[in-house]
């Protein structure tokens, strides 16, 4: 594939890596948050709901800048992470993961929350009378029933992570081979003369990845839906 430059490859691989990690790492927290918002009543319910949705309505650049302030090497959380775990986020690919996860989080939570709200609590009650603890009820009844919603949430989050640009470039910049994700690469190619070719190729890759994820999720979700429909 010599028509595909090394820089382009790096961008594609990096984007895939960042998106997969972003989705995997945020999924458990996404399910927990969705469950809390759907089922629990607690003080600060509205506040949590607002915080989760904030990245959806803030300009991405603002989110990125806030991340830089908090998770930058001199930021409160950033300094602590570096001291305790030796983990640096700003201007690293790990930071791109954080930015993508936060930007994708509202979409993931929303899809999973809708699925949880559609589960009949009576089924969970039935499971508890059969001797299943709350955790067992969740893993054996709730989780299988919300699987289609979880798949939808994962795919939406993955797509959002692949396309994330504003927050990422603000927080981790645009360093080829390190933090230059697919959208950043397209942007960079468009800034230089003769960059239309590589940009176009990356655009095609983007479309293929997005379509592939959509089709795969549709197939998976259809199978899961069939299973939980009980017929």
């Amino acid at each position: 594939m010599d028509w595909f430059g090394q820089e382009e490859w790096q961008a594609v691989i990096l984007s895939l890596k960042v998106s997969v990690w972003a989705v995997l790492l945020s999924l458990p927290l996404g399910i927990l948050t969705a469950y809390a918002l759907a089922r629990w009543q607690f003080r600060g319910h509205q506040l949590l709901n607002g915080l989760v949705h904030l990245p959806l309505i803030l300009p991405p650049v603002v989110t990125g800048y806030l991340l830089l302030l908090t998770f930058g090497r001199r930021g409160l959380a950033g300094a602590w992470l570096e001291e305790t775990f030796g983990l640096v986020l700003a201007f690293r690919w790990t930071g791109a993961v954080l930015a993508a996860a936060i930007m994708a989080f509202p979409l993931m939570v929303r899809a999973i929350r809708l699925a949880i709200e559609a589960v009949d609590p009576k089924l969970e009650q039935a499971a508890s009378t059969l001797g299943a603890s709350r955790f067992a009820v969740f893993t054996t009844v709730t989780l299988p029933l919300i699987l289609p919603g979880v798949i939808t949430g994962v795919v939406l989050a993955f797509a959002k992570a692949m396309g994330e640009f504003g927050a990422t470039i603000t927080f981790v910049s645009n360093i080829p081979g390190q933090t230059q994700t697919l959208p950043s690469a397209i942007y960079t190619f468009l800034q230089v003369p003769g960059g239309e070719g590589p940009a176009l190729r990356l655009v095609i890759v983007s479309i293929i990845v997005a379509m592939g994820a959509l089709v795969a999720s549709e197939l998976l979700a259809r199978r899961a839906r069939k299973r939980v429909s009980g017929v």
Binding site: T129, A132, G230
Partner: protein, 362 residues
């Protein structure tokens, strides 16, 4: 094995304030819709936390506000059969049943998987998914799932209410078998007198959140005072009976404590015991032994009590042998025949008046 319930709980439009005991066998919680029956059963299961009171199962408090005990539902080990089945849609029938067994107490005794499947006749359904089962099939699987969790007690919330009469007839025999073959006591919520008459060994009658009458089923059902609450057209008594002979003309002869009954063919072997429900309005009263009458069944007895209704009717309680019958007649007849407590009468019952559903299958 018994259950003691004494709870108070504020519901939307009335206060539940009940105290009763459920001994072995099937205890029916009977009452019209919205009298708090389901709230009681939910409180016993732990799905509802009553404002106050205590629930004691076999000497062990599972709920007690004074002692601050509230065992969570999954640790109470009670098998709950819901009105709507509540089978897990993502699991096959087999895996629904196994779900019950999965969390069963390892030392608990109870019927095994094959036994339950055979008892409920659900072997052909095992590999099906719940979505395609009929209502009756779903309920049988739900009962099996509850049984396999090896519960200390079964709770059934109108398990037949959502079924048509043919499907009910399909499940009633299983419930009767369950009563005979297992030691598991059952709390059975119902607003159907026919179901109560056929299944219950004890009855707790509820009205507006209060217990109005409780006791052994034969006593409660044959009490003229309860007839109004059961509904006059539904009032009747139950007689324990033994199958004696099947006659070639299609009649089955049964013995009851007060004499013999001839009923349309009952599909049970000679010597088997059963119970027959006789509705109060199906009984005629005669002072003398009636002759030249088409009715086949004449039970002698003595009037033990008379209850005057608000309308033209009244209800007599008649002791025949060791059992009680209820007869509904007009006040005019009672006066013409000068019927009083202590009077000797004959209760006349047409063989064909006793419906198939009112004869228990064992």
């Amino acid at each position: 094995m018994s259950l003691c319930v004494a709870i108070q709980h504020q519901l939307a439009d009335f206060t539940l304030d009940v105290s009763f005991e459920a001994p072995r066998g099937i205890t029916a919680l009977f009452g019209a819709s919205g009298t708090g029956k389901t709230s009681i059963i939910n409180a016993v299961s732990g799905l509802l936390r009553p404002d106050q009171g205590r629930i004691i199962l076999d000497g062990e408090p599972i709920f007690d506000t004074a002692m601050k005990i509230d065992i969570p539902p999954h640790k109470r080990r009670l098998g709950y059969v819901f009105q709507d089945g509540r089978l897990f849609p993502h699991l096959s029938v087999r895996r629904n049943l196994l779900y019950g067994a999965r969390y069963a107490h390892p030392e608990a005794q109870g019927p095994g998987f094959d036994e339950v499947v055979a008892l409920l006749g659900i072997a052909p359904l095992l590999d099906r998914n719940p979505g395609l089962l009929s209502g009756g099939e779903k309920q049988r699987v739900a009962i099996g799932r509850a049984l396999l969790s090896r519960p200390r007690m079964l709770l059934m919330d109108e398990p037949l209410a959502a079924l048509d009469s043919a499907r009910k007839e399909e499940i009633l025999p299983f419930l009767e078998q369950l009563r005979e073959h297992t030691d598991i006591p059952t709390l059975y919520v119902s607003h159907s007198v026919a179901e109560v008459a056929r299944l219950a060994t004890s009855v707790v009658m509820l009205d507006n959140g209060k217990v109005t009458r409780a006791g052994p089923a034969e006593q409660v059902l044959s009490d003229p005072a309860t007839a109004r609450q059961f509904g006059l057209r539904e009032a009747g008594s139950i007689l324990p009976a033994t199958v004696q002979t099947h006659h070639p003309d299609g009649l089955t002869e049964l013995s009851v404590s007060g004499g013999r009954l001839f009923l349309p063919k009952i599909d049970q072997p000679k010597g088997s015991s059963t119970r027959v429900r006789i509705l109060a309005h199906d009984i005629m009263i005669s002072r003398n032994y009636p002759k030249d009458i088409s009715a086949l069944n004449i039970l002698p007895g003595e009037i033990t009590s008379i209850r005057q209704g608000t309308g033209p009717g009244m209800i007599l309680q008649i002791k025949s042998g060791d059992d009680f019958l209820l007869a509904r007649i007009t006040r005019r007849s009672a006066e013409a025949m000068s019927l009083k407590p202590g009077a000797h009468v004959h209760a006349v019952i047409k063989a064909v008046a006793v419906a198939r559903v009112d004869v228990a299958t064992r």
